[in-house]
Symmetry: C2
Subunit: 343 residues, 2 copies
């Protein structure tokens, strides 16, 4: 499997005929090393296939050059794309990423998972589906932590997120703007706590757009769902039909729900957007490849992640101190075929 299990600095030093100090200097390109010596050392490194032992380095430095990322699961496209974005941003900053997944519905394990992850990282990004302030506090982590959700209570760490209410307001206002008056809201409903503050915030945005337009929303058009999946979206349309609630538009709280809604409507033979216009939320990659392509809300994920990592690195190197802040990134409406017939 391998020729030698461990090639150490010492081995390199012996091979190159210099001291370990010198090899270390070369590896970390510190200090002044004569270019002649440098070459000798680099040759020895190449010959022996030396790679620094990260455990030893971390133990010595107290730094791992690794960031932790906690998320529910990769199989939800939003989180898969988030993971890719975090990897890209972290790599640019010279950090590796160690991920822990909570599993669906595993949010109650979060404090434990964060604490565990923290011992092998310099800082942790937390992106649960649902972060109740009481379940996670700054003390749960011996390293800095930044949440990728809106803030609930002051938990003592930074929060970076898209403005959920604003995004929902944009989407709903767009539907109202095209003359739709009976807009179903799928995913959350007032008092339907499962998706916590995210669902609540998006529902508030939905209501706010109605208020601005002077339209009274029909409560019978709000459908809460246990999960934000295609299957739930599909079911929600059938639920609306069984309630006998007529609607000419749907605001789905995320894109997966919207995809399920589209399938249900297509199975009914409804014209989109003629009979029913549909808007989603998240702008996952698939949204632009649906038929028709989905109108949705772009959360500005790269912005969110870049900001979160900047704050986190600031906490790590000590340049950032003080109270935890909340930064809301403005979302953008992306108009596509589900609300706009091609001419």
């Amino acid at each position: 499997m391998t020729s030698r299990r461990h090639v150490t600095l010492r081995d390199v030093a012996r091979e190159a005929g210099v001291s370990v100090r010198t090899v270390s200097n070369v590896v970390n390109d510190f200090h002044y090393v004569s270019s002649e010596t440098r070459e000798k050392v680099e040759a020895a490194i190449a010959v022996l296939g030396y790679r620094p032992n990260r455990s030893a380095r971390s133990l010595r430095n107290g730094s791992t050059r690794t960031l932790g990322l906690v998320l529910p699961e990769f199989s939800q496209p939003y989180f898969a794309e988030l993971a890719d974005t975090v990897f890209a941003a972290a790599a640019e900053a010279g950090y590796k990423v160690l991920i822990e997944t909570l599993g669906p519905g595993g949010d109650e394990r979060i404090a434990d998972v964060v604490g565990d992850l923290a011992v092998s990282t310099d800082g942790v990004l937390v992106s649960p589906t649902f972060l109740d302030g009481t379940t996670l506090a700054a003390e749960d982590s011996p390293v800095p932590m930044v949440a990728l959700t809106a803030r609930r209570i002051d938990a003592g760490f930074d929060h970076v997120a898209m403005d959920d209410a604003r995004g929902a307001e944009l989407a709903t206002a767009h539907l109202l703007g095209m003359g739709r008056r009976r807009i179903a809201a799928i995913g959350s409903a007032l008092g339907f706590a499962r998706h916590g503050r995210t669902g609540e915030a998006r529902h508030r945005g939905y209501l706010a757009a109605h208020a601005t337009a002077g339209v009274e929303p029909d409560e019978a058009l709000a459908v809460g769902t246990l999960e934000w999946t295609q299957a739930s979206g599909y079911e929600a349309v059938r639920e609306l039909r069984s309630r006998g609630a007529a609607f000419d538009a749907v605001f789905a709280m995320n894109d997966l729900l919207a995809i399920g809604v589209l399938h249900a409507l297509q199975d009914e033979g409804a014209a989109i957007p003629g009979d029913v216009a549909v808007a989603g939320f998240d702008d996952i990659a698939m949204a632009s490849h649906l038929s028709p392509p989905l109108t949705t809300i772009d959360p500005g994920m790269r912005d969110i992640v870049d900001t979160a990592i900047r704050l986190l690195l600031g906490r790590i190197d000590g340049s950032r101190t003080g109270q935890g802040e909340e930064i809301l990134v403005p979302p953008t409406l992306v108009v596509r075929g589900t609300t706009h017939a091609p001419s």
Copy 2:
């Protein structure tokens, strides 16, 4: 951010009034520790919030209890599901997972990424889109490695994969079995090297099924695509139409391509499966939630991953030695609405 940066074994020992040896015994539940002492120590651990330093432990043990996983990107549903499966299987075996992504088309970085990952893990799983034997050899990794692809050449490590040719044969035979005679093959084409051996193997299965059925496949029905995405699937249908090639079924080399195909056919107003039957490959979660649900090939991912991890752990603990083997897991046909009208 944190009350104390480092709580060490020593701190716990002092707090509990015992020696570090005893604390270590408790933490690793070794040896005989009186239950009285154990309680004292556990209380101290709880009070101080002690967590063992993984770097120190790894340095000392020479083992990290971490497996590496190399994959292209999370945003491809197959790899997202693979990552979730690997996390689950690794967790059951008491291992963490450190992931590195190659980025789309980044397969040439693979040897470097594996070497880098290997220094912080006990073993590495490699799942590129496309593994050319010449780009990765056992020597690239100081720790054991298992590839989650079919074997190209003997690269000196184990390979675990689904039987691509067999899966494609199953899907194609199913389409032939329902009387279809003009089956488009989307994704690869003979001589279209982009998707390497995976595409080639699936194409071979497609041809084998035809041979068995005594049907001559029309080469004009094979469409190579640069990527295996929805957009490519959509385009492929248009390409077939522009060639004027009539077809009554489509075998798409993965589910994303199949989804694109479905959208293109739906945009044309074709009846599915009446006018055109469609089969995909991979059985991603979304496949069963399409409208109509997609007939596809279940790769037996959990089997593949369990087997790969078993082999890898065997190499790690030394219980497995000798030549690298190739294990092909048998795929299964999953019949759904795109080839079977509900009665």
